[in-house]
């Protein structure tokens, strides 16, 4: 059976307007892969990477813990244990291919999701101060890759928006359109700078996805799909995946368990789908802020400050929890209620992406984040 996605690409070629010459092979593309997983809604870092060795933890949280049915916490070191839902991630931790960063936050210190996500994605110090995403600003620093960076969604998240082209793709339930109509649309959009650019990228991304791009999206499928794009020679090397639903104001134990299972599923699917390319991969999952140290009155937690980030991949120097632990005793909490941040997400991003792609991390800090005073977190990637 003829693959209609392939035909779509051919139709575009026939129209002669869409595909620029494929210079991927000539352009010595990078083999390094980088995936940014955005955990929207504020993941509770304290229940994800539990500081069971901190005596103040039991006092704060008591019975507020993962559901018994989920299993026992997975010990990481003397201080920390991972949430039992993170089975695959903890196994990677055991193999030295995963690490956790704790007590980390963006420079944002208020408690609005939407402003905080803007800061997380733009890499600025205040919401809406920058109009493009930090990943987009990083793209010109990379060795040229065959395909633009990719968001696994129909629309582009802020992290990838900006002057350097990036594309978006998500599995569609829609029937394939008529190639003749597509050719006419191509011609019609040729005179419209905005639509022409978007259209060209869309058609290329669909051609890349091939037959793998069909069907319902679930965490496993999303991870597999991202892996399809990333594993291909000359394919995308930067991808963004968004996971929603972390805003656990009520009934957190059950809800967070499901959320973490999803995250664990995406990570496992990426590992399996990337195959040999896993060794060249760094994945970082981060959220806009942490949640209150103590539970609220509805078996949940409210908006907080410091949280945790998850870093996995064959290129990660893992098997450790990276934290300058501030403690959870009353006097140690930020504003008396939140985990005090002692690390900066920008430092993590600059250190990870910089060392991974061979860009001097201080240069990353300067050109991408415009933050000379922040020292990048280095030594987290295998040389």
């Amino acid at each position: 059976m003829i693959n209609r996605r392939f035909l779509l690409g051919q139709g575009a070629l026939a129209a002669g307007l869409l595909l620029t010459p494929n210079l991927a092979l000539a352009a010595a593309p990078t083999e390094k892969r980088f995936v940014f997983i955005i955990l929207r809604g504020a993941m509770d870092g304290l229940m994800t990477v539990m500081p069971l060795g901190d005596p103040a933890y039991a006092a704060l949280r008591g019975n507020f813990a993962p559901p018994a049915a989920a299993g026992l916490p997975l010990p990481l070191d003397a201080l920390f244990s991972a949430h039992p839902a993170l089975v695959e991630t903890a196994a990677l931790y055991g193999r030295g291919e995963a690490l956790f960063v704790h007590a980390i936050a963006s420079p944002y210190r208020e408690r609005s999701h939407f402003d905080a996500q803007n800061v997380l994605e733009t890499g600025g110090t205040a919401a809406y101060a920058l109009s493009d995403g930090w990943l987009n600003r990083m793209l010109p620093l990379l060795p040229k890759s065959g395909e633009p960076a990719l968001a696994l969604s129909a629309t582009l998240p802020m992290a990838l928006r900006g002057p350097t082209p990036a594309t978006s793709y998500a599995p569609s339930q829609l029937p394939d359109p008529d190639p003749d109509l597509l050719a006419r649309i191509t011609a019609l959009y040729a005179g419209d700078p905005q639509l022409h650019g978007l259209w060209s990228q869309a058609v290329q991304a669909r051609a890349m996805a091939g037959s793998d791009g069909r069907g319902r999206s679930n965490p496993g499928a999303l991870g597999r799909l991202a892996a399809t794009f990333l594993a291909k020679p000359g394919g995308a090397r930067i991808a963004v995946i968004e996971l929603q639903g972390w805003d656990t104001h009520a009934e957190q134990p059950g809800r967070l368990n499901n959320q973490l299972k999803q995250l664990d599923g995406v990570i496992a699917a990426l590992r399996d789908g990337l195959g040999a390319a896993w060794a060249d991969t760094v994945i970082v999952a981060a959220t806009e802020f942490g949640r209150t140290a103590a539970p609220n009155g509805t078996m949940g937690t409210d908006h907080g400050t410091g949280g945790a980030a998850v870093v996995v991949g064959g290129a990660v120097k893992g098997g450790r929890v990276v934290a300058d632990w501030p403690g959870l005793a009353t006097g140690q909490l930020y504003q008396g209620r939140d985990l005090r941040p002692t690390a900066d997400l920008r430092a993590l991003f600059a250190g990870l992406a910089g060392e991974h792609f061979g860009i001097d991390p201080p240069r990353m800090m300067r050109t991408v984040f415009n933050a000379l005073q922040v020292r990048p977190l280095t030594g987290l990637v295998r040389g």
Binding site: F64, A65, S112, L156, V203, Q335
Partner: protein
């Protein structure tokens, strides 16, 4: 109110395009253009059109949910009794995990069946409500007013992601927003914040004052789970519904508002002690849950006690200059430009302040603003706008074959499911993305297939896009192999994607 400039035929035609596309939901292809009047549509606006009146209300949904919870508890008890009869040894539990108390064991088959039952029921209710919204938008003769319903529903977004909100999100638009779009902002605000959907979505219904009668009783019992405050609704009222983020309120203000709101709940929704009887599924103030004492917010003291306290705070917030500015910015962004002209925002905010929050006064300033009648078309239509305008364009009264509800999800904007209380973004960058564009073309093709070759897009195009149809698009439509393809091309044309 007529647009300010009517110099030539061309500007008249363009004004018509702006009235029907930027301020409306697109011309219905089977009707004559209604002209450029906008405010004079309001007498024709129907807050409760037949399609919406046919949908069950929020009280019925809450009762259904409450019954479901009762059945779940019964199933759980049955399971525990069976387990006790079998004398299963207790599992060994680490101190870091909760004991396997009544809330925790694996769901039994009976519980799973109940869950999947209610899921299916609520999914169906959600679909019925979403289709009622679509039918109302397709058939309205007051599209400016209808667009304002969609605007306010997004401003006060309740996302149908949880089981409880799946069936309730639409009822809030129908019951709290539709009747209040043309009155005072405070009435709209109060109606929304008291609506069961909002009280459930932002976890208010179970928020308890620590020093309330219920809070004290629980402390005296030294129960394992102490009921307490939840600051979610308080925060989003300040951040999203009224003042806007960065307008000067503090964490302390958030907590004070959360305390003032304790007791705002829903009859029959939650099982707590010290509750007064109330009609099931309707707003109720529970005095026994309310945090006693005065509250101080934004430097103002509120000595009212009980239900009147939060209402007084909301009354002040509704007419606060920061609220006026926040709403003015969002209205101008929605109707005029992604980056709204500051002078227009100022005029809108002034209208809000000077009228004491009279929404009609604000709308009048908006539709009289020269900035709102400028070209070229500055706004990229959202998936909702685009889909509704396309269906109105082909004269659809309903479009069951299209599976529109699912199509909107494919386009990235599932109805009432923005995923967060901030609602959908209102800028082009959120919608103008590669895959999203390709999907519009795919859906344009499907919409065109609904009418086949019965519509001649060459004749329809200048009516839908008066004064703005480009010669290139007109020529591309004329060159199409068959009328259906021409129609798909019209619906995907650059001019039709924007307003």
């Amino acid at each position: 109110m007529p647009p300010p400039a009517r110099k030539t035929d061309m500007t008249t035609a363009t004004s018509l395009a702006i009235a029907q596309n930027r301020f409306g939901l697109g011309l219905r292809g089977d009707e004559a253009a209604p002209g450029t009047g906008l405010v004079d549509q309001f007498p024709r606006y129907d807050p409760r059109p037949p399609a919406i009146a046919a949908v069950p209300g929020s009280a019925a949904m809450v009762v259904r949910f409450r019954d479901y919870q009762a059945q779940q508890i019964a199933a759980r008890m049955a399971q525990m009794q069976a387990a006790m009869a079998a004398e299963r040894p207790a599992p060994i539990v680490s101190p870091a995990v909760s004991p396997p108390g009544p809330g925790k064991p694996q769901r039994s088959l009976a519980q799973k069946a109940l869950r999947s039952d209610i899921n299916a029921q609520f999914r169906e209710s959600y679909g019925d409500a979403a289709r009622a919204r679509i039918v109302a938008a397709l058939n309205t003769t007051a599209p400016f007013a209808e667009r304002l319903v969609h605007f306010w529903a997004n401003h006060f977004a309740v996302s149908a992601d949880k089981l409880e909100t799946l069936a309730l999100a639409g009822t809030m638009e129908f019951e709290a927003i539709r009747p209040n779009i043309a009155g005072r902002f405070v009435d709209l605000l109060l109606a929304v914040e008291r609506h069961p959907a909002m009280l459930v979505f932002l976890d208010q219904a179970k928020s308890i004052g620590p020093d309330s009668a219920l809070g004290q009783a629980a402390r005296n019992r030294r129960g394992r789970k102490l009921p307490g405050l939840n600051e979610n609704l308080g925060r989003e009222i300040l951040e999203l519904h009224t003042l806007g983020v960065g307008s000067g309120y503090t964490q302390a203000d958030v907590q004070e508002l959360a305390r003032a709101l304790t007791g705002w709940s829903i009859g029959g929704f939650t099982r707590q002690a010290i509750a007064i009887e109330a009609p099931e599924g309707q707003f109720v103030f529970q005095p026994g849950w309310h945090q006693p004492g005065d509250r101080a917010i934004m430097g103002r003291r509120y000595r009212q006690q009980g239900e009147a306290q939060a209402a007084a705070i909301l009354g002040d917030l509704a007419v606060h200059p920061a609220t006026a500015h926040h709403l003015a910015t969002k209205l101008a962004r929605h109707f005029v430009a992604d980056v709204p002209p500051p002078a227009l925002v100022d005029r809108l905010a002034r209208a809000h302040i000077e009228s004491g929050g009279d929404l009609m006064a604000v709308y009048r300033v908006l539709v009289a603003a020269p900035e709102a009648w400028a070209m070229p078309m500055p706004k990229f239509k959202t998936p909702w706008d685009w889909t509704i305008s396309a269906l109105r364009g082909i004269g659809a009264r309903d479009a069951p074959d299209l599976k529109i509800v699912g199509a909107l999800a494919e386009l990235g904007q599932p109805i009432w499911r923005p995923g967060s209380p901030a609602g959908w973004d209102d800028v082009a960058a959120s919608w103008a993305a590669p895959d999203a564009l390709l999907r519009r073309v795919e859906i344009a093709e499907r919409i065109a297939s609904l009418v086949g070759d019965r519509i001649d897009a060459r004749l329809l195009a200048p009516r839908l896009l008066p004064g703005v149809l480009s010669p290139a698009t007109a020529a591309a439509i004329a060159n199409c192999a068959r009328p259906q393809q021409g129609l798909a091309l019209l619906l995907a044309a650059p001019e039709f994607l924007r307003r």
